[in-house]
């Protein structure tokens, strides 16, 4: 092959190389994905709120309950006749960023946790038994529906609830001496859903 031809071939090859390079370069496109990410600080905040004044039926004497973040306590009701009751409305609030689930719920009953004692300290007297049979303690949702383990309380959600203590029965069930009733308790345990 002559020098001229070689030169031409070289130029062609060079041009082809350059072209391929350009073409290759043109056939590449850098695609960039740019993003940012962060991890928000998580908040876990389930608490009581908005305890109402007591709604009373009859004329029971009442020491009003107090609400702190996670307790409602101090309620002391003295009934004098059947049919009396007191009702409090309150909220359970999930103000955190994490959904909550009611893991366990324990509401005491006369069979479990509620203890009636007469003025002599006896739990077995007819007075104590009658009172325990006729005292009622309930904690429900505001519409009267029961709480159930597994109930979800989503982040930023609120459940309206109510607590009712009442004395039922009839005149014959009234004790002749004062009977104290302890253990009118309920415990809600929420966990992360």
């Amino acid at each position: 092959m002559s020098i001229k031809v070689k030169n031409i071939v070289l130029v062609v090859l060079l041009l082809g190389l350059i072209s391929m390079t350009v073409a290759y370069a043109a056939l590449t496109q850098r695609l960039d994905i740019e993003s940012t990410a962060g991890i928000n600080s998580l908040e876990w905040d389930v608490h009581f709120a908005n305890l109402s004044k007591g709604e009373v039926i009859g004329s029971p004497s009442i020491t009003e309950p107090k609400l702190s973040n996670i307790t409602i306590n101090g309620l002391d009701v003295e009934f004098t006749k059947p049919g009396e009751s007191v009702t409090y409305n309150f909220d359970i609030v999930n103000n955190g960023t994490i959904d909550a689930r009611l893991d366990t719920l324990k509401i005491n009953t006369k069979e479990d946790g509620i203890v009636c004692t007469d003025s002599n300290g006896s739990k077995d007297s007819q007075d104590a038994i009658n009172v325990c049979n006729n005292i009622s303690f309930s904690v429900t949702k505001a519409n009267g529906l029961q709480f159930n383990e597994g109930d979800i309380l989503s982040s930023k959600d609120t459940i309206n609830a109510k607590l009712v203590v009442s004395y039922n029965g009839d005149l014959e069930s009234l004790p002749t001496t004062r009977v104290t009733v302890k253990g009118l308790n309920a415990v809600f345990e929420y966990i992360q859903d």
Partner: protein, 195 residues
Amino acid sequence: MGNNTVKNIILGILAVALVGMTVAYAALTQKLTIDSQASVAGSTWDVHFANLGAAEKTGNPVITTPAKLTNTTISELDVAFTLPGESVSYTFDIVNGGSIDAKLDKITINSKESGIKCTDASGSSDSEDAQAVCNNIIFNVTKADGEAFNAADVLGNQQTINAKLTVTFDPKATSVPSQKVTVDGLDAVFEYIQK
């Protein structure tokens, strides 16, 4: 820095991480507690009759058997009239000696239209004598001032109502029976309930 130092650093980091995870896990439960108590005052329900007075007579009725009072009854009164206008009355009290207010739920005072029965000596309720007597016997139970009892009247705890019962041979009667006429059913019933 030796290997032990490195290992210690790594162990320290792992420990802190483990504690952190534990704390984070523990923080994601919340117990909410309601704690209350109650009591029921010793109470008594006690509504009863008391303080039956001596018979007060107008005219000369013969009290064959005076009224007797028990806790919840006034009974046995048996009075014989001879002339119109005669009467006998007793005062008594209705007492709420309990700790619970009471309300008069129902009061029934017999009348000749309902409950009072007049029977002549031959046992007839339809004779002229029987009917005349029934038309002229007046049985009443009122408050001491003469006011009527009414359903829903309240008798507060530890309160007393003064009352009286009166049996009268109507002074407006224009005849007397020719034979003895017995009058039964001169009854009144008060039913009190918790207010």
